[in-house]
């Protein structure tokens, strides 16, 4: 009988999160610190705009690349935050979440055997998307001692003559690490020297707690070799609306739009109208949420200090990534016991790559009250482990 499945799909490892999810969902009164999405509702004026679009009967396809008005607002946003100007007609595409942009971006760029450099720990979909695009993922294991930033030495060591594109996922999920301008300048120099591309996933750009987020695209000569990916999920708490975008050189966006056209047609129309409102009038909401996240971040860092738990200070996204190596367990063992004994779910660092071993991802997309209870339990757990 003919085998029904594709070998490359079969070869993909299922997400390490799934197993954990199954345990947690069966457990009553467990506290989760495991989500990768904001706890805020989408601000009302944005939802209202979506409702309004439905009421007015705006229920048709938009153009493949997305509503012109939205593309213009995206360009305005990139221009005012990064001082980089994109042409809304040719250099932007609106996608179904940032995830789609990652997928079609890699598919548009990679030939069979091209190498895609992926720093880890990082978001779970880069590696599978690279494989499905026919490329070969080359993993860089980021180090805690560098605060999980990508160093020029690490990048240089990973580049070969087959390297096509570097994925640059900062602010980072799961570590919360950021790359500042000085760090990026060193990376950009190597990118240009080696004539390769960057896919910069900046979905957490607005959640930066140390100065303003700097995109690598704002550095000289980088616009022509960067695909900038962003979206509405994290900044505006719009995960369920499924809306992201990519900005980049016209020739790449054109091919991405082709894949998008055949696979997706266009991003959801209602979401696109809501997103126009988000970009036009959402700055205050972003500021309010960023402030709340930052308070929680400080609260967690302080809680770790008080329980002497080793953790570098992350300045981005809504994750902290404490080190649990002192307990002599794997991340998975630690997370499983923490869940079983204290009923708190946090994701093992290994779900985001082997270099996440010895770490735990704790999300602070939760109310302070929730975090307080979780930290009391973590403290009790850690003290019990130390006593042996």
């Amino acid at each position: 009988m003919t085998k029904p499945l594709s070998d490359s799909v079969k070869s993909l490892k299922p997400s390490g999160i799934r197993k954990f999810f199954d345990i947690v969902s069966e457990m009553k009164d467990a506290i989760s610190l495991g989500v990768g999405e904001p706890d805020f509702d989408t601000p009302w004026h944005i939802r209202d705009e979506g409702i309004f679009a439905l009421e007015k009967g705006k229920t048709f396809y938009t153009s493949n690349a997305g509503l012109k008005e939205l593309r213009e607002e995206i360009c305005n946003y990139v221009s005012r935050t990064q001082r980089v100007n994109y042409d809304p007609m040719h250099e932007v595409i609106v996608t179904v979440g940032g995830s789609e942009a990652i997928d079609i971006g890699l598919r548009a760029m990679c030939n069979l055997g091209d190498e895609v450099i992926i720093p880890q720990p990082s978001y779970v979909s880069y590696e599978p998307c690279a494989i499905l695009a026919g490329a070969k993922p080359v993993i860089i294991d980021l180090k805690a001692e560098n605060e999980f930033r990508l160093t020029p030495e690490e990048l240089e060591a990973a580049i070969t003559d087959k390297t096509k594109v570097l994925i640059l996922p900062f602010p980072n999920n799961p570590t919360g690490a950021i790359m500042e301008k000085g760090d990026l300048e060193k990376i950009a120099k190597i990118i240009i020297e080696n004539d390769i591309y960057v896919m910069s996933d900046e979905i957490y750009a607005e959640l930066t707690y140390k100065g303003e987020h700097v995109s690598i695209v704002s550095l000289p000569e980088m616009k022509e070799r960067t695909i900038l990916i962003n979206g509405f999920s994290k900044a505006y708490a719009m995960t369920g609306w499924r809306l992201g975008y990519a900005c980049g050189p016209e020739e790449i966006i054109k091919q991405m739009t082709k894949i998008h056209q055949f696979a997706i047609m266009c991003a959801p129309t209602t979401s696109q109208y809501a997103a126009v409102e988000a970009l036009k009038n959402g700055d205050d909401d972003v500021k309010m949420m960023r402030q709340a996240y930052n308070q929680r971040r400080r609260f967690l860092m302080n809680a770790f200090r008080e329980m002497n738990l080793d953790c570098f200070e992350p300045y981005g996204a809504f994750y902290v990534f404490p080190c649990i190596k002192e307990f002599g367990m794997t991340s998975e063992e630690f997370a499983t016991r923490f869940l079983e004994e204290e009923k708190v779910a946090a994701v093992p660092g290994t779900a985001f790559g082997n270099s996440g071993e010895g770490f735990l991802r704790i999300s602070y997309a939760y109310s302070l009250d929730n975090l307080k209870i979780a930290m009391e339990r973590l403290k009790r757990f850690v003290e019990r482990l130390r006593k042996g």
């Binding site: 997400s15 999160i17 999810f21 989500v35 308070q295 779900a351």
Partner: protein
């Protein structure tokens, strides 16, 4: 710091100085000094509790009263506003633009007491030209807080 500090304690006035210091990334002494300063400047005017009286056995009736007045020479609306807000049963007095001048919020035990206040005290003031009393039937939201709504976390428990 004061903007962020105020936005925290506006929602939770019971929070301790030590916790505030952690959330704001400041020293406790800095936070304590800032609060003292805001109190003395009259920026912080009190630390109240938001109570949903409907859930208690205590009867309370709230009315919003639109008041048209004649402003007084040299004192504008301030003098008449003061005469009204000095009554303890008056919860709030706002000077309003538009069709009338003052909006008075009144809280009493019964409807009758409100009626009494309007007819005996408010309407008889010299500068008051007219009043229109609206009774509150239900409070859905007050001070930015929605009453009677517990929000469930509907997110998937673990997501990448």
């Amino acid at each position: 710091m004061s903007d962020e500090l105020l936005s925290i304690i506006e929602k939770n006035s019971r929070i301790g100085v030590n916790e505030l210091a952690v959330l704001l990334g400041k020293e406790e002494i800095e936070v304590a000094n800032e609060i003292a300063k805001l109190e003395s400047e009259g920026v912080i005017c009190g630390y109240h509790t938001l109570i949903n009286w409907d859930k208690t056995s205590i009867e309370k009736v709230t009315a919003l009263i639109e008041v048209k007045v004649t402003p007084q020479r040299g004192q504008g609306f301030d003098k008449i506003a003061e005469r009204i807000y000095n009554y303890p049963e008056v919860r709030a007095v706002y000077l309003i633009s538009g069709g009338y001048d003052l909006l008075v919020t009144l809280e009493e035990k019964t409807l009758k007491e409100i009626a009494g206040f309007v007819s005996d005290k408010l309407s008889t003031l010299d500068s008051v030209l007219s009043t229109a009393t609206h009774f509150v039937l239900k409070k859905y939201k007050d001070h930015g807080t929605v009453f009677d709504k517990k929000k469930e976390d509907e997110r998937e428990v673990i997501t990448p």
